[in-house]
């Protein structure tokens, strides 16, 4: 049995029939950390809302914990944990009151499942009498995660839990997810940050309501067919322009301090490119072959 299984799931909005989700199929195994990776407006939240029984699909079918999302919505609601994209706590209630409230709503108590949230909650404990609205972004996310976990869900849905959170808090958050996975909870998480993709067991790259690619992060990286090089030199902007004008270059784009360059020919050596650039008066150049990241794969798929 899959923790989540979607078949040809579709969602259409409004009079103009904007297609938000276009026949999306994927499955999440039990105990798996599955990432939906894509920019805003890719359809991630719509998929989440259909799977959490908050929206009815306009086509296709899906199951969560083996239960049909339309027929068995009541049973599913007992078994899933959900953290929506928006800040979903009561800003005027304290940390403890929020947690208590959600525990009771889900028919449990903090004590009963304290072991699940202990790791996370100890960090919040010093602030337990502070109102949730006065917490920092990272702390809010931790509290929201506690609230989604408090009833020991079988499947956890986290819709962009790290959006707008600073890099340090984001790292901490992913470490918490890893520990949760060890407890056997299946997790479906969405994120616009490509660097987080590598932390998932399996990912689906999604854009415009369609899945571009779906596999383990390493398999997606391995499927990258072309030659990828990292190029470094002074004046990145002009260097990029010149490189993109070079006929042997398929695409060059900025990537941190480097420019990533995909050459057209698979077995081509970068020396020819260097020679081309030197001819254009570029100096102090440095080039090396690199292993692509998920972001490189995504950029390639988008083109």
């Amino acid at each position: 049995m899959f923790a989540v299984e979607a078949k040809e799931l579709s969602k259409v909005y409004g009079k103009e029939k904007t297609i938000a989700v276009d026949a999306v199929s994927f499955s999440v195994k039990q105990g798996e950390l599955f990432g939906l990776i894509g920019p805003d407006g890719a359809g991630k939240s719509s998929i989440f809302r259909m799977l959490t029984t908050l929206l009815l699909p306009d086509g296709g079918e899906a199951s969560v914990a083996g239960l049909d999302i339309i027929k068995d919505y009541k049973e599913i609601r007992k078994r899933l944990g959900y953290m929506p994209g928006k800040f979903s706590l009561y800003a005027d209630l304290t940390v403890e009151e929020n947690l208590n409230f959600f525990a009771t709503v889900f028919g449990t108590t903090i004590e009963e499942n304290y072991h699940l949230i202990k790791d996370i909650y100890v960090q919040l404990e010093p602030f337990k009498n502070r109102r949730a609205g006065k917490l920092s972004g990272g702390m809010k996310q931790k509290l929201a995660l506690c609230c989604a976990l408090i009833h020991k869900p079988e499947v956890l849905f986290l819709d962009e839990p790290t959006t707008g959170v600073d890099p340090v808090s984001r790292k901490e958050f992913w470490e918490m997810l890893k520990r949760l996975k060890l407890q056997g909870i299946s997790i479906l998480v969405s994120t616009p940050y490509m660097d987080e993709a590598a932390l998932c067991d399996k990912i689906a790259l999604i854009q415009g309501g369609k899945i571009l690619s779906i596999d383990t992060p390493s398999a997606i990286v391995e499927a990258f067919p072309s030659n990828l090089f990292a190029l470094k030199g002074p004046s990145m902007y002009t260097l990029l322009q010149a490189t993109n004008n070079c006929p042997m270059v398929e695409h060059a784009y900025a990537f941190g301090e480097y420019a990533h360059v995909i050459l057209r020919e698979k077995e081509q050596s970068p020396d020819a490119l260097l020679a081309y650039l030197v001819e254009k008066d570029f100096t102090a150049l440095e080039i090396k072959r690199i292993v692509p990241s998920i972001e490189d794969c995504f950029i390639r798929l988008l083109r």
């Binding site: 809302r49 929206l55 979903s88 005027d92 209630l93 709503v105 989604a148």
Partner: protein, 368 residues
């Protein structure tokens, strides 16, 4: 049940931690009662009175004393001539002068009849009439006590009997009106806004995916406002009994029963608004313009419905606060029993049922 209680407690935290809400909840009834009770009252208290006493006898002194202890008048000045009356009137402070003729006491004693003259500043005709009425009543009292067989000393005596409200107070009219308005405000607007706020915050999503039944989410959001509204009914009643000296003539339990019914009506309207809207501003606008305004216009408390054109009179029938206003007036002031208010109760029950059915049907167990 535990879930429900936890929900109610959470709702109380929201209310108690938000000063603005708290003020609307508990400040508004007091402010409104005070404004209507004292500032906007159409009754006249401690009005300055001129007396030109030509009699200077025991009977006239007694009458003047009665006027003075009545709370309605304050003897500003005792004058000696008509011209002095006119002069004082021109200064503008005085609105009424009483002239007691020379043989007032002896006429009463021997002929069982005497005359009095009232001179009014009629630039404000309503006040003038009100003041005349007060004097009439006091004089009648005076006669009844001292000269049981005497006829009225004033030539033209309008034979009006002020039923239910012998002191002609304004309070009986506005207390039921204020109650209707406050309950409308709290139940409709605050319920709608507080539910829509959860939609805006994204907390509604989490509540909907919880095993807690969606309809219970809504009911448990409405329940605290039922309690708070009953607290408000109590505070308004306490204020009107102890501050405005307006006794409750009818059965107090019935008054509460009727109020609870009206509160439920308002709550269902509030829920309906919250189901149909997605932003707090829209919910607030609909509640204010769509609910409060008709409540003010059509409940009969500010403007008499009988004077409205027929189409408006018909419309007024679907305004719940009209029926509540009639019932509260009936119970509080006339002391009517339920048998006299069956029609109003029926109408209110009907409206509530219809609104509740629509809002439950429209209520979505999912988003959008």
């Amino acid at each position: 049940m535990k879930q429900f209680l936890s929900f109610v407690r959470k709702e109380f935290y929201h209310v108690l931690r938000d000063r603005k809400t708290l003020f609307i909840l508990f400040g508004m009834p007091v402010v409104q009662i005070l404004i209507f009770g004292f500032a906007l009252s159409n009754e006249v208290k401690n009005s300055k009175l001129l007396v030109f006493n030509q009699a200077q006898d025991e009977a006239s002194a007694k009458l003047i004393n009665e006027l003075e202890v009545s709370n309605y008048f304050e003897i500003e000045k005792v004058v000696g001539s008509y011209s002095e009356i006119h002069q004082t009137f021109k200064q503008g402070d005085i609105r009424l002068a009483l002239v007691i003729p020379a043989n007032f006491g002896s006429d009463l004693a021997h002929q069982n009849k005497a005359s009095l003259q009232l001179i009014n500043d009629a630039s404000d005709p309503n006040t003038a009439t009100t003041l005349n009425n007060y004097v009439n009543i006091i004089v009648q009292d005076f006669l009844a006590q001292n000269y049981p067989s005497a006829k009225s000393p004033i030539a033209i005596l309008p034979q009006t009997r002020m039923l239910y409200n012998p002191q002609l107070q304004g309070a009986p009219n506005f207390v039921p009106g204020v109650m209707a308005m406050i309950l409308m405000l709290i139940c409709v607007m605050m319920t709608a806004v507080s539910i829509v706020r959860e939609k805006e915050n994204g907390t509604m999503e989490v509540l909907l995916v919880s095993p807690f039944k969606p309809i219970l989410v809504i009911l448990s959001k409405a329940f605290p406002y039922l309690l708070l509204s009953l607290v408000n009914v109590t505070s308004i009643l306490l204020l009107s009994v102890y501050l405005l000296d307006l006794p409750i003539q009818g059965n107090i339990f019935m008054l509460y029963a009727v109020s609870t019914l009206f509160i439920i009506t308002c709550l269902s309207i509030g829920i309906l608004i919250s189901v149909l809207t997605n932003s707090q501003q829209v919910a607030m606008l609909i509640s204010l313009m769509g609910m409060m305004l008709p409540a003010l216009l059509f409940s009969g408390f500010m403007f008499p419905i009988e004077n409205m054109p027929l189409p408006l009179q018909v419309i007024s029938n679907i305004v719940p606060s009209k029926w509540y206003y009639i019932m509260v007036k009936g119970i509080m002031i006339k002391g009517l029993g339920i048998s006299s208010l069956l029609k109003e109760t029926g109408v209110l029950v009907f409206i509530t049922t219809v609104v509740l059915i629509i809002s439950i049907k429209k209520f979505k167990i999912r988003l959008a």
